[in-house]
Assembly symmetry: C2
Homo-oligomer: 275 residues x 2
């Protein structure tokens, strides 16, 4: 009948995830002046069936994530997908974020250490790590690293003894260089050097990767095949392929700051429309 | 920790729905010149756990549905929600559409009767009706009625002997009157008279409604409480309340026809942003 079967991520079908997605911190905990709570929480990407070998801790969702309702589906997601692929991990991963909502401005230490914010996130870490098959944890950037340390300070966290690396956040070079091409080149080179250390630390810990893959380190910049499209198995049912193939299709547009905050504009790539 | 528990619809967690959402007709069956296949299929709204007492057959998704990934979540959805509420049905329903994709132009009879298009839809009707607790089926408009008749012509369809009504599509008055206020008033009055017939046909068949509700018919126009917000239990996890509270937050915007086709613009209602 149809040419292809389209896998999808069914999402939050069983416990404890059903409850975690029912009982979560909202604007009482996440200050609307510091977080884009208006879009609702975005919880995860990847496996929830206990098969993950890698756990990724990202920072916060942006506009692509807001539409797809899964985290790390934009450029940062494509880069981390490539990082995991170098470890032979193509599906056995789960990803959560430090924050359920997009950061708007700079959350203070007090906000970041809000007990309810932290304890809720720790429930996810407990659910994904205790007595599970995760062999390595990757924190993307400072906030994720801080989140990890907070969990590691708990009794549950102390019981977890597998590999951990903090690596530079995947889009730090872009944030840092603000359009300056020379700075971008330099920052990317520095990040990939850091990522190589991360790979070398983690690789020995991954006992049974999805794909046996000889470790090939990054060069000074991303090669084409070092960024992967987001797997169809990670997307909710029915979403179109072009939402995974590349990013840039969702933008915040508006004349004023308030207009921009209120907006997400989706544009279907031209090649995906009948000509 | 949190003030409220937020129910959600977990979606396509079990069979046959997992397979139905994996193996579905795409642009080989739905002509991209006649359907907005670029947004991917949108499958249903409501219960998939066999508890439905009413099945609603709608026509096709529009832009709000495209974002939410559930059908009938805009104005038409609010109106049909109110129709079911008059029968005492507040959660025991399932809804599917005649078409998986938004109609773009006018699909010919040949397209509408495409065997693969029809047989796929019939799988959903089989799954939702055979040996299940549905006591009444409501088809919204001509296309939905045609879809029903096609299923009723099958062996499975012939075995189904419960109540059926075709009612005017909920936004037919708006389509018909094209901004002419007098025509809108008249068409709405006519539709609600038709809906009253539908209610009177169905009400005796609903043996065990969610809420015992004396049947109160419509007047000449919609009263405030005759349109209901879409229940939180029908939405995927994490979507914000304002997406259910009202519609109008998603529009197709663009200078040319092609620009418009490529676009969905989401605007958060002002009251849901920090002032």
């Amino acid at each position: 009948m149809v040419k292809k079967l389209t896998k999808f991520d069914p999402g939050y079908c069983s416990e404890p995830f059903k409850t975690l997605c029912t009982n979560f911190p909202n604007s009482d905990v996440y200050d609307p002046l510091r977080f884009r709570v208006e879009w609702g929480p975005i919880f995860h990407r990847g496996r929830l069936d206990g098969s993950a070998k890698i756990l990724v801790i990202g920072q916060d969702p942006a506009q692509h994530e807001t539409i797809v309702r899964r985290i790390l589906v934009g450029e940062a997601g494509r880069r981390i997908q490539g990082f995991m692929a170098k470890l032979g991990i193509t599906r056995s991963y789960t990803m959560i974020n430090t924050f359920l909502y997009s950061v708007y401005g700079n959350p203070t230490a007090k906000i970041r250490k809000n007990p309810q914010l932290v304890s809720y996130r720790n429930l996810w870490l407990d659910a994904l790590l205790l007595g599970k098959t995760v062999e390595g944890v990757v924190a993307l950037g400072d906030r994720a690293d801080e989140a990890w340390k907070m969990w590691k300070a708990t009794a549950n966290g102390q019981s977890f003894q597998k590999a951990f690396v903090k690596i530079t956040h995947p889009t730090q070079p872009e944030s840092f260089s603000k359009g300056n091409h020379a700075k971008l080149t330099e920052a990317t080179k520095k990040m990939l050097k850091n990522w190589n250390s991360g790979l070398q630390t983690l690789a020995p810990s991954i006992s049974n990767p999805d794909k046996q893959t000889p470790l090939v380190l990054y060069g000074d910049s991303f090669a084409q095949d070092e960024k992967s499209e987001i797997p169809e198995e990670d997307f909710p049912a029915g979403l179109p392929y072009w939402m995974r193939e590349n990013d840039g299709w969702a933008r915040r547009v508006g004349k004023t700051t308030m207009d921009k905050r209120a907006n997400i504009t989706i544009t279907v790539p031209k090649k995906n429309l009948p000509q």
